[in-house]
Structures are given as structure tokens and as C-alpha cells.
């Protein structure tokens, strides 16, 4: 950095003190219930979604127990189909999508140098709608849970074949979490477009924010389709319409088109912000700038655009003409290019770095090792004649768990270990973190690698039992053992969090030598985040500030933020 002398105005930023007076803080739980602070809402998001993650995980373990051996008797077929549906729905709608909104909520204002989201009350509404959506869905386990899979294909989900209210509970969940996500997305878009610190042009915006912005636009584009579809399903079920009912002139394939027009962008909604977390974590721990910033940002946008054009690759086995199949094969292929670009850029970021092996980096590196496996099998399945063999088998199950667990969840854990010190003011234990990482890594691969082989041997997904003739018993046993190892790994992180939140080492403002603005303020940040917001001169404002401090241009205490907030 050039060490030219700076004027006081540039150093301090423009004087915009917004504290016009103080309201007394409400105490205890009432404060959480009524808060509009993006940080508190973010923490509530993270807490609630992790509870759902644990519930969804327990459902998965029950399924694995049932499948450990042929002729399993752990659960009945009814319960098994319920578990299939609850697990998928929970992980997609109540964990991965909202947990990313949680990170976004906490981090977006901090990373752009704002004091809150654009619409704080709307933000609170988003969270409560999510929670009530989850509760409306989970009450169904007390009467009759849905059993038609998270994709809820008609006519199986129609009233003739699923008369119970479980499917209706699922429809409520889609509507409530859908509105929650839409409002959240609008909030993110408004915040990121309008409230960036002075000097933070689009080209200086942290890559995590690029992904949150694109995530928001994708939600806005994709959610109306599923909202429409579930409303049509609701009227089919209760008000005599026949949109998806072939006996009334409807078409079950219409459901699949509407669902996957949402469902495929949803996949990228679930993975892009994880890409963003990786793009933040890698440069910090490699002590290097991100390689190819523009290419990564541009490929995020490209992936989002292309993700709107690939939905029918979920429907290769349906009666559809070859021309259509070929189009969707080619469009799915093209998505591999921007995705590949990102992976190469991330590896190039590590190359010739000084890689500090802390837990966040280990999770990020595991993401880099695992996500390409899901990506490569994705390209294989885009070849539609090959997909005719692989579709709806355990190969698919393995594929999307490599994308969503190896990709998204490892990315989320990287983010958790990376940002926990900022959120709580305390460090997570490194040794427990490492133990958790290695257990999860081994358990994950043991669970899902063999599932490729089970699928190739002819084992369909969503079966409560399988035939001895398929010779898949060994794969299933390995997978079940692996899933419990994975469970232990997750549990270690839960223990780590519960322990460190009280007893962890003090983090200080910037324990990792971060690049972005959230490390400029205290840990945890005060209610107003920043008293002064520095002018942004590059994509790594904190690196600039550290340079200025070491060059003596900026006094060290201007980094230790902000004196006024301490009394709050």
C-alpha cells in the first residue's frame, strides 16, 4: 500500500453519529422476542436452524439404522416414508437455506459497514415466519406426517393418495418459509444496494456479499414458482380443482416442472453463500488475496443465471422428447464451467500461500476436496442416457449429499468456526474443532462414498428395505456406521460451542487477521456496529488499516473500536 499522508477526514470517515438518545434495554427473553437488531436476529436464525439441523440429522440416523441390514425392523414403512419426507424438507427449508440467511443477517451489515439491515422490523418478521413455518410443519408428527417425499410429487401428494393433513402442513411450511425467505431476500437486496460504506464499489464488495446478493435475487426469482405450485396443490386437495390430477384432465408433469423450476435454483441458493464463505476464509488463512476476484464474482452471477435453465434435468426419465432432454443436458453442462472456474480459483488462492491450519481453513479445504466430487458426478448425470441408469438411485443420494453436505454444510461449518469469535467474543476450542473436523470428514465419506456403488448396483432411493439379491448389504452397513461417526463429529462441534460460549478464550477484535470490515469492530459488536466507518479503498479494507497502523499513519487505538459503544 502506498503510504501517502491522509487527511483527518479520510481517516475518520464522515462524521455520522446516529445515537440520538438511548432507550433502556429490555432484559432477558423479552429482548430477544422483540429485537430488530440484525445481530440478535442472526443469532436466533443460527440457533433455530441448528436445532432443525440436529432434528433432521436424527431423522437421517433413524433411516440409516433401518437400512443397516436387509429386512430391518427399526421403523415401519409408514414411519420410514415420513422420515424421508421430514429429513429432506427440514434440511432444505429449515436448515441450509435459512442458516445462510442467518449468516447473511449477522454479517451483511457488518461487512458493508452499515448499522443494521435496511428494514429491521421486516427482518424480525422473516425470522418469526421461518420459526412458525417450522413449527406448523413439525406439529404434523403429532397427527400424521407427510409421506410423499420432500419433492411431494403429484398425484401421490394429492388427496386421493395422501388424505391426511401432513401434506397440508408441508404446504403451510412452504408458504411461511417462502414468505420469510422472500422478505429476507428483499431486505438483503435493499441493504446491499444502498447501504455500503463509502468507497465500497461493486468491485470492492466482499465475495460473501456477492453470493448473498445473488442468493437473494435467485430466491426472488424462484420462490413464486413453488408458491404457485403448492397453492395449486392445496386447491387440488381441498377445492376440487385438478391441476395435477390426470383423472380430471390435469397433468402430474406440470407439478414437476413448477417444482423444479424452483427446485434447481434452490440448489444454488443453498450452495452459493457457502461458496461465499469459502471465498472469505481461504484468503485469510492462506495470507493471500483471493485469486481472480472478478472471475469468482462473475461466475457466481453466471451460475445463478444458468441455474434457471436446467430444471428439467431432474425429469430425464419422464416422457419427454429427446430434443428437450438434449437441451437440458447442454444447459447443465454449461453450469460446470463457472463452477470449475471457482474451484480452480480457490485452489490457486491456496497455492504459494502461507496456509495457517486453523479449524475454519480445514473445513474450507474439505469443502474444496468434497464439492468437486459432487460436481463431477453432476456432470455425469447430466448425460441423460447415463442418468436413465442413475436417476432416483442411491447414486443421486450420494451426489447431492456431496454437494449439500460436502459442499454447503462443510462451508457452513467453516463459517461457523470463522465467525463464532466475532459473534460471541470468544474463540472456539481448536483441539475440539480439529477432532470434530476429522470425525465429520471420515464419517461423511464413509457414509456417502459407498452410496454411489449401492446406486450403481440397482438400489433405488426412498426404500425402507432392499433385496439381498442386489448385493448392497455391505455398502449399507458401511454407510450406517459412517453416519454415526458423522453424527459424533457434529456433536463435538455442538459441545465445542456450548463450552466455548462461556469458557472460550477471549477473541479480541480480529483474531484471524481478517480482510473485511466485520473485524474492525468489537467482538461481539456493539448495538450500532460502528461509531466511525472507514473509507473503503480495496476489497481488503482491514488489511489496508493494518498497513496504515504499522506504517504509523493511523493510530492503533482507532482500530480498537468504538469508545462510545463500550458504555452501552
Amino acid at each position: 500500500m502506498e503510504a501517502r499522508s491522509l487527511t483527518g477526514r479520510e481517516l475518520g470517515g464522515s462524521p455520522e453519529i446516529v445515537l440520538h438518545g438511548r432507550r433502556e434495554r429490555q432484559g432477558g427473553w423479552l429482548e430477544w422476542l422483540t429485537t430488530t437488531d440484525h445481530k440478535k436476529i442472526g443469532i436466533m436464525y443460527l440457533f433455530a436452524t441448528f436445532v432443525f439441523f440436529i432434528i433432521g440429522g436424527v431423522e437421517a440416523l433413524l433411516m440409516r439404522l433401518q437400512l443397516a441390514q436387509p429386512n430391518g425392523t427399526v421403523v415401519t414403512p409408514e414411519t420410514y416414508n415420513g422420515l424421508v419426507t421430514m429429513h429432506g424438507t427440514t434440511m432444505v427449508f429449515l436448515f441450509v437455506v435459512p442458516v445462510l440467511a442467518g449468516f447473511g443477517n449477522y454479517m451483511v451489515p457488518l461487512m458493508i459497514g452499515a448499522r443494521d439491515m435496511a428494514f429491521p422490523r421486516l427482518n424480525a418478521l422473516s425470522f418469526w415466519l421461518l420459526l412458525f413455518g417450522g413449527m406448523a410443519f413439525y406439529t404434523s408428527i403429532f397427527f400424521d406426517p407427510p409421506r410423499a417425499g420432500w419433492t411431494m410429487y403429484a398425484p401421490l401428494s394429492d388427496d386421493s393418495f395422501s388424505p391426511s393433513g401432513g401434506v397440508d402442513a408441508w404446504i403451510f411450511l412452504i408458504h411461511l418459509t417462502g414468505i420469510s425467505s422472500l422478505l429476507g431476500a428483499i431486505n438483503f437486496v435493499a441493504t446491499i444496494h444502498n447501504m455500503r460504506a463509502k468507497g465500497m464499489s461493486w468491485g470492492r464488495m466482499p465475495l460473501f456479499l456477492w453470493t448473498i446478493l445473488v442468493y437473494s435475487y435467485l430466491l426472488i426469482l424462484a420462490l413464486p414458482s413453488v408458491a404457485t405450485a403448492v397453492t395449486m396443490l392445496l386447491t387440488d386437495r381441498h377445492f376440487g380443482t385438478a391441476f395435477f390430477d390426470p383423472t380430471g384432465g390435469g397433468d402430474p408433469l406440470l407439478w414437476q416442472h413448477l417444482f423444479w423450476f424452483f427446485g434447481h435454483p434452490e440448489v444454488y441458493i443453498m450452495v452459493l453463500p457457502a461458496f461465499g464463505i469459502i471465498s472469505e476464509v481461504l484468503p485469510v488463512f492462506a495470507r493471500k488475496p483471493i485469486f481472480g476476484y472478478k472471475a469468482i464474482a462473475a461466475s457466481t452471477v453466471a451460475i445463478a443465471f444458468l441455474s434457471l435453465l436446467v430444471w428439467a434435468h431432474h425429469m430425464f426419465a419422464t416422457p419427454t422428447s429427446t430434443v428437450v432432454l438434449a437441451f437440458f443436458m447442454l444447459s447443465s453442462f454449461t453450469i460446470a464451467v463457472p463452477t470449475g472456474i471457482k474451484i480452480f480459483n480457490w485452489i490457486a488462492t491456496l497455492w504459494r500461500g502461507q496456509i495457517v491450519f486453523k479449524t475454519p481453513l480445514m473445513f474450507a479445504a474439505a469443502f474444496l476436496a468434497l464439492f468437486p466430487i459432487g460436481g463431477i458426478t453432476g456432470v455425469m448425470m447430466a448425460i441423460f442416457p447415463v442418468d436413465w441408469q442413475l436417476h432416483d438411485t442411491y447414486f443421486i443420494v450420494a451426489h447431492f449429499h456431496y454437494v449439500l453436505f460436502g459442499g454447503s454444510v462443510f462451508g457452513i461449518f467453516a463459517g461457523l468456526y470463522y465467525w463464532f469469535p466475532k459473534m460471541s467474543g470468544r474463540m472456539l476450542s481448536e483441539s475440539l474443532g480439529r477432532a470434530s473436523f476429522w470425525t465429520m470428514f471420515v464419517g461423511f465419506n464413509a457414509t456417502f462414498l459407498v452410496q454411489h456403488s449401492a446406486g450403481l448396483s440397482g438400489m433405488p432411493r426412498r426404500v425402507y428395505d432392499y433385496s439381498n439379491d442386489l448385493h448392497v448389504s455391505t455398502y449399507n452397513l458401511i454407510s450406517t456406521i459412517g453416519s454415526f461417526i458423522l453424527g459424533v463429529g457434529v456433536l463435538l462441534t455442538v459441545i465445542n460451542i456450548l463450552h466455548s460460549i462461556k469458557h472460550g478464550k477471549r477473541a479480541g477484535n480480529d483474531p484471524w487477521k481478517g480482510n473485511t470490515l466485520e473485524w474492525f469492530t468489537q467482538s461481539p459488536p456493539p448495538v450500532n456496529n460502528f461509531d466511525v466507518i472507514p473509507r473503503i479503498r480495496s476489497v481488503e479494507p482491514m488489511k489496508d488499516i493494518r498497513h496504515e497502523v504499522s506504517a504509523g499513519v493511523r493510530a492503533a487505538e482507532t482500530v480498537a473500536q468504538p469508545a462510545a459503544a463500550r458504555s452501552l
Partner: protein
């Protein structure tokens, strides 16, 4: 940092072990490849072609996988932070390199596209039956096949109908011939299937005989297989689309027999069905006689 050195050594040993395991797996792979790493095949040319296409993409995939994981592990090991190590290189990008891997990735996909279309024809379109296939009989001649395969013997067109939780097969011919669960077919003969569903969506799949086709209510889906002479035997499969509580128990079986055996099976089965129908009629008449029915 007192145990920095041993820990580093353990990590290296661990990495070496991982690498060794990966190499061992790859060396052992070709032997076990047929079973664990590729789709089922061997019953029908379309299944074999899908298998070949899959293998080609798998080889491409393995090369890409090794490049990506190799560079990643190399970078992680080689460039881990060490005291007194070199400063991290402050590189922000390299346009020729980035353009290079973009074009490289695109080229691989172009190659995969071409290979797919080369194989597509043979996977999609049924070949003619062998001359020693099912003997030409009016009852089995396919009349509604959109593009009857030229030459050879006649093909056999079977209507497949899925319902919770059973498959029904209707054979062509004036006299009724149908069966449930087990489909009997002649070898050396192209069998074309028209797949329908009566209630919810099912999916017809016999892995060794090719890919799956969804049975969607209100639609007709088509597929085919041709079991070569000498491969008589049973081929198992099951419904591949969640169709309700007993989805896992919706199994199917294809029993391939010689054309001669097929003809006699069909005659016998037709006779059984005819007799069963007649007995039903007789019973009804008997009950009517006894005054149970109008």
C-alpha cells in the same frame, strides 16, 4: 508449540497413508470396476451402451478428479505456514491461466457432448430382432410401434402398467395374454415396452436391461430391450419412483426364455386365462341358477 515437530510428522504420515490408500484403490479399481463403479449391464445392448458411455465419462472424471485433488493436496502440504517460510505470494490473478482453464473445461464438455450423441442412437432406438428370434406370428407382430425396426424377425410389444404396488404386462394378440410381476420374454427378440401408470407415478427399471422410464398417469413412456440368445435367465428390478408406503416392495422380474419356450408358455398362459375366464362365467351361471343372482 512444544510438540510441533511430532505433530507435523504424524500429519505427513497420515497424508502419505491417505495417498497410498487412494493409489491402492485406483490400482485395484479395474478388477472390481464392473461391480462397484459402473452401472449394471449385460442383459441388453442399450444397457451395455449406457455402461460404455458411463465408463468413458468416468475415465474423464477420474483424470479431472486427480488433477483437482492433487493440486489441492499439494498446495495444502507444500504451502502450509512454517516459521521462517517464504512470504505468501501476493498474486491476485492471472488472466491467461484463468482463460486457459475456462476454455479447457468447455472443451472437455464439448467432447462429452459429441461422445453422448455418438452413443445416443443405439441407446434410444431399438434394433431389429435376430432372425432366430421369435418366429413370425400374427399374434405377436407389433402393429403400433412408431418406427418398426427394419429387417430381422418381428418385435414384441408389451404394455406395461404400474399400479400401487404391482406391475401388469399385457401382450399383443387377439386372445388375451397378460401377467403380473413376472414378465416372460423371448431372447433374440426386440421387446418394446409402452409404460403407463394407473394411479400415481411409478418408474419401470430393470438395471441389467437398460435405463428407467417413468410411468406417469396420463402419459405413455417407451423403452425397449433385447436379450441376446444364450442369455436366458431372470433379470430383477423394482419401482424407482416413490409411489407410496410399499414402494420398496414393488418389485419386477423379467424371465428370458428361448423363443420356442416363449411360444409354448404363451399358449399355455392364454389357455389358462381363457379357462379361468370361462370358469368365472360358469360360476356366475351356476349362482344364477341357484337364485343368488338375477
Amino acid at each position: 508449540m512444544r510438540c510441533a515437530l511430532p505433530r507435523r510428522r504424524t500429519r505427513l504420515v497420515l497424508l502419505a497413508a491417505l495417498a497410498a490408500a487412494a493409489i491402492a484403490l485406483l490400482v485395484a479399481a479395474p478388477g472390481a470396476l464392473a461391480d462397484a463403479f459402473t452401472p449394471e449391464s449385460g442383459g441388453s445392448p442399450n444397457a451395455d451402451d449406457i455402461d460404455t458411455l458411463y465408463k468413458i465419462t468416468l475415465y474423464v472424471a477420474i483424470v479431472i478428479f486427480l488433477i483437482v485433488e492433487g493440486t489441492l493436496i499439494w498446495s495444502l502440504v507444500r504451502h502450509r505456514a512454517r516459521r521462517g517460510g517464504p512470504e505468501a505470494a501476493q498474486i491476485r490473478g492471472n488472466t491467461p491461466l484463468e482463460l486457459g482453464w475456462t476454455i479447457g473445461a468447455a472443451l472437455i464438455l464439448v467432447v462429452l457432448t459429441v461422445i453422448t450423441f455418438v452413443y445416443l442412437d443405439d441407446i434410444k432406438n431399438p434394433p431389429p430382432s435376430d432372425p432366430d428370434g421369435l418366429a413370425s406370428q400374427a399374434e405377436f407382430a407389433s402393429i403400433d410401434q412408431p418406427a418398426p425396426p427394419p429387417g430381422g424377425g418381428p418385435s414384441l410389444n408389451i404394455q406395461v402398467n404400474g399400479r400401487q404396488y404391482l406391475w401388469r404386462y399385457d401382450y399383443p394378440g387377439d386372445q388375451q395374454l397378460f401377467s403380473y410381476y413376472e414378465m416372460v420374454v423371448p431372447t433374440g427378440t426386440t421387446v418394446t415396452l409402452e409404460v403407463r401408470a394407473a394411479d400415481v407415478i411409478h418408474s419401470w427399471w430393470i438395471p441389467k436391461l437398460g435405463g428407467k422410464v417413468d410411468a406417469v398417469p396420463g402419459h405413455v413412456n417407451k423403452t425397449w430391450f433385447k436379450i441376446p440368445r444364450g442369455k436366458e435367465g431372470t433379470y430383477i428390478g423394482q419401482c424407482a419412483e416413490l409411489c407410496g408406503i410399499n414402494h420398496a416392495d414393488m418389485r419386477a422380474k423379467v424371465r428370458a426364455v428361448t423363443p420356442e419356450q416363449f411360444t409354448s408358455w404363451a399358449m399355455q398362459k392364454r389357455e389358462d386365462i381363457r379357462r379361468a375366464g370361462q370358469e368365472l362365467g360358469d360360476q356366475r351361471k351356476q349362482r344364477a341358477k341357484e337364485g343368488e343372482l338375477e
